[in-house]
Structures are given as C-alpha cells and as structure tokens.
C-alpha cells in the first residue's frame, strides 16, 4: 500500500518536472506569441479568430475570443490554458477542476513584452522569450530612431466606419496600441486628446483637425487582403474632402491586415508599415 503510494508520488513529480506539452490559447495575440516562441507544435487549441500564422489555422478551435467553450477546452486535456483578460471570466472555473490557467493582458506594447516573458517561463523556454523580446525591442527602437528627427505628422487612424460612407467613423484614440505605434513611427495622433479609447469622430472634427496622413481600416468586412478596386473606392471616398492635407498629398492608406488590431510579435511589421505611410520620404 505504502509502496504504491510512493510510486504514485514519484510518477506525479516526474510528470510535473516535464515541460508542459499541451497548450491552449484563447486569443490571437497569445497564439502569435506562442508560435513566435517556437511552441507551435505544442499548441492543441486556438480561438476562432486565430488566423496567423498559417499553421494556426489548422489547429482545433476552442470557441470564439469572447466566448471560449470550457467543455471543449477540458476535453483537450491541456497542461496550460493561456487566457486574455477579456475572456478570463468565462474560464474562471479551470483552476478549480485542476487545470492551469495563465492570465495575460494585451492592451499596450509593454503588455506584449510582459506576456512574452510570462508565456516563455510558463512553457519552460525562458531563453527563447528573452531572445524574442530583445529582438522586438531592437527593431522597434530602430524604426523610432529613423523617424525621430523627421517632422511629426498628424495621423488619423480609423478602425471602423459604415461601409461605403464617411459616417460612423471610429478612430484609435489615446492609450491604445495603435496610438503607441503612431508615436514610434514618427507621427502624432490627430485625435489623441479624445477621452474614449476608440472615439467616434465626426466629419467636422476630421476637417478641423486636418490630418496629414489617414490610415483607413474602416469598412473591412473580412480581416484579410483587400482588392485593388476596394482600395481605389476608399481613396475616392476621401477625395471629396479636398481641403485635407492627407488628400492633397495623397497620403490616404486603406489597410486591412489584422496585425493592426492584434498586439503581438507582428507589431514590428505594423510600425514599419506605419512609418512608411507617415514618412514615405525616409526610405524605410
């Protein structure tokens, strides 16, 4: 009896010492970090919205970002479930039934760095975490250095808009991930003094603030590549406001990539794209 118990304890400690093998992610930003850390093979479940990298699309789904399905997650027998603050409440029961839950927050660039450390440590690959973090910091630092002495241009970044019109415009305001990227890329947010994080902005405000660069992620039905015809139609929409500096200088940029709304390792790509939009002359 005693030996049996002892054997069981030994077995249990042996299991605990092994690095966690079965990882579940409930948010696109977490999935991207896991793959960037080289842990893609260990990922056994991702959310409906996890579409990057390509390999993530072939992973089993655990429900949507806002409503992950606890039963599906339990059936995957995960070693660790990584959750974001938004969906943490839906999965509050995990620890009570013996599953390890690691909660993360992805609102800012600093949050992404912290998450990389937390995820890398939890998964037993701290060296890879430190490497990824340093690499991202260096690349963002390089972009920032290149744009530091260039004129700061006023940037309007739209994250929402009624399809085909300049109505229902929702901009990225202060304190958002996009706002941070704009600063790194050598711009200033044209509506950075607004109260809400994602303010509705009127046509009047846009005309009055007169942005020099407009990045329009406005009426993207799908978060994927858009057609050239669609891009042309978005530019045509803005051309009616001929008094805008952004229109005069042809700095209207329709975008659709999802890295604009997924804070994660692709923030370098986002910052570089933004720097090219804001300072095309810098040759970044």
């Amino acid at each position: 009896m005693l030996t049996a118990l002892l054997a069981l304890c030994l077995a249990a400690s042996a299991i605990a010492a092994e690095p966690p093998r079965r990882l579940v992610s409930t948010a696109p930003s977490i999935t991207e970090i896991l793959f960037a850390l080289g842990l893609g093979d260990r990922v056994v479940g991702v959310s409906e919205y996890c579409r990057y990298p390509e390999a993530a699309r072939r992973k089993p789904r655990i429900g949507s970002y806002l409503a992950p399905n606890p039963e599906v997650i339990l059936a995957m027998r995960p070693d660790i479930v990584f959750v974001e603050e938004v969906n943490a409440r839906a999965l509050a029961m995990l620890p009570a039934v013996g599953f390890r839950k690691v909660e993360l927050r992805h609102r800012s660039i600093e949050d992404v760095y912290k998450s990389i450390d937390i995820i890398a440590n939890a998964a037993g690959v701290p060296a890879a975490g430190a490497r990824l973090r340093r690499q991202l910091q260096e690349e963002l630092g390089r972009i920032q250095a290149r744009t530091r002495d260039l004129p700061k241009r006023r940037v309007l970044f739209l994250v929402g808009r009624n399809p085909g019109t300049l109505q229902g415009m929702i901009a990225a305001g202060s304190g958002t991930y996009i706002d941070e990227l704009i600063r790194i890329a050598g711009g200033i947010n044209a509506v950075g003094d607004a109260g809400p994080a994602y303010p509705n902005v009127s046509l009047e405000t846009v005309l009055g603030r007169n942005p020099e660069v407009i990045i329009d992620r406005g009426d993207m039905a799908q978060e994927s590549k858009q057609s050239a015809a669609h891009e042309a139609s978005v530019r045509a929409l803005w051309r009616s406001l001929s008094s805008l500096e952004a229109v005069k200088h042809g700095r209207i940029h329709p975008v659709s990539d999802d890295y604009w709304v997924v804070p994660g390792p692709r923030m370098v790509e986002a910052a570089r794209a933004l720097a090219r939009f804001i300072h095309p002359e810098a040759g970044l």
């Binding site: 929402g160 399809p163 003094d193 607004a194 009127s202 005309l207 009055g208 007169n210 039905a221 001929s242």
Partner: protein
Amino acid sequence: MAVDSSPATRSRASASLATPRRFTIAILSSLGLLLAVLALAPLIGSVPVNLGAALAGRSPDAEILFQARLPRVLLALLAGGALAVAGVLFQALLRNPLATPYTLGVSSGASLGAVIAIVTGLRAAFHLPGVWVCAFAGAFLTLALVIGAGRSAGRISAFTLLLAGVSVNAICIAVVLFLQYFSSLAQSFAIVRWLMGGVEPISYPALAAIAVLVGIVVVYVFSQARNWNLLSVGETWGASRGVSVQRLMMGGYLSASLLTGAVTAITGPIGFVGLIVPHALRILLGPDHRVLLPCAFLAGAAFLAVCDTAARVILSPADVPVGVVTALLGGPFFILLLRRRGPGV
C-alpha cells in the same frame, strides 16, 4: 386610456380642445424655438469656424460649415421632428403612453438590415450607402410582417398590433445578436456603435429626398388630427362621429412606421425623442392633436438638434452618442415638468 365613452370623458375631451388663440401661440412659439435652434446650432461645434471666411468659400471653414455642420443640423431637425410625430401617433394608435416609435419593431428591423450590410461589407446599393438601403428594407419588411401577423379577419387592432410588433421586435433583436456573435471584432465594434445611433452629415440631395418624404407624410398626418382627437375618446365614440377607425389606424400606423423607418435607416435608433417630446407637449399644451402634432414636429426637431449640438461639443474631439444626450438632457427636464405640474396629468 381604455375604450371609454362615458359623458364625463366626452365633456373632458371637448374642454381640452385648444382655442384658436392657444393654437396660434403654441405653433408660433414652437416655430420660434425651431428657428432659433436653426440659426444658432450651425455656429457651435468642435472646431471654431470663421463665418466670414466660410461665406467667402475659404477652406477649411467653408467645408466645415457647409459640408459637415449644416447638413448635420438639418438632418437632426428632420429626424427629431419625424420621431416626435411618430411617437405621438404610436401613443394614440396603441392607446399606450409608453409607446415609442420603436415599440413595434421598425427600428429593430432597420438595425437588422444595417447589421447585415456591415457584416457583408455592402458598400453601395442603388447608388446609396449599403447600410441605408438594407436598414430601410429591414424596416419595411418588419412593417409588412407586423401587419401580416397582427391582422385578423382583415382588421387591425391596437392589441394585436402591439403583440405582433413586440414579437417581431424580439425576433429582429435576436438575429442582430446572433450575427454580431459571429462577426469579427472590428465588425462587432461597428455594429455596437451603429446601434447607439447618431446624426451625421449627409449629402444635400439625400437631405432633400428625406425632407420631401417626411414632409408629405407629416402633412397627411396633420390632416388627420381631428380624427385622432375623436378616436382618443374611444373607438365607438369615434366611429359614431363618422371616423373610419380602421382606415385611420392603418394610415397612422403606416405613416408612423414610414417616418421611423426612413429616419432610423440613416441615423440608427435614437431613443427618447419619440417618448419625451410628445409627453412634455401634452403637459404643456394639452391633448388636442391639432396642436400636438405640428408642435411635436417643431419641438422634436429643435430638441434633437440641440442634443446633437451638445453631442458634438461636450467630449470634443470625440462624438458622444446622441441617444445618451437625449436621455440625459431630456430625462431630468421631463421629471421637472412632471413635478411642477403635480398629479392629474
């Protein structure tokens, strides 16, 4: 207000009818209010405008005043007037003081249409923004559905309309939530903001088209004011005085829905205007529909334009959802009015 044709009700009904003098005063003061708002609202905004420069056509003052601000004020006026008239009509039609332009599902139908346009990314249909077209189609289908479901033996009644409308409303909201559940985060965001409602500048041809539509419907509604007075005493009373109750109700229902649908398709649902303006006016002016309907149009227009002006400036450069302002500004005002008039209204 139950069906009631006792002598007491009748004498009260005739006593509350407006005299020509009161009629003139009420209309002129509402009109004065509207004109004052029309003159002042375009001068206030999130960015200062040099009026001289704007009139001389200099950029960007001219664009801000004539492309962004004036059309928005005009749309707020039209929408506010239409919603307030629709509110009076629905309250009279359903004999329910809590009825609003949205009670019978027209706005939920419009919302469903708009959500479909947002989710599918429909940019344009018939050379109009996709959201407008789908929202208007949604409102129209809801109307047809409610009439289809609420008619029995070729007649509509307040009771069956209410039940059918509330059911269709619930179904539309359920489908909206279902679609939102499957939409991407960005779409979900756009949907929530649309459902908050808001007045935004639209092109002058579009404004003119809505003005014509609202104008025709509103004039027809005004012409029926006497019949609504008779009906408000009771269905039998109205019928015995020569009112075709069925025709009046159907006409009122179609008019109110058309007003609500056309406005909601463009602005999204804006709460409170259709509830608070009619009741405030009933307290101030009495229940005579010959005064109530035109004053509701004028005062509703002024009220929404004032609220939208506040929405433009209080959190500038951010826009506040106008429905928040209508409730925050109108609610306390209405309570004050109730308190001062005391019981018996």
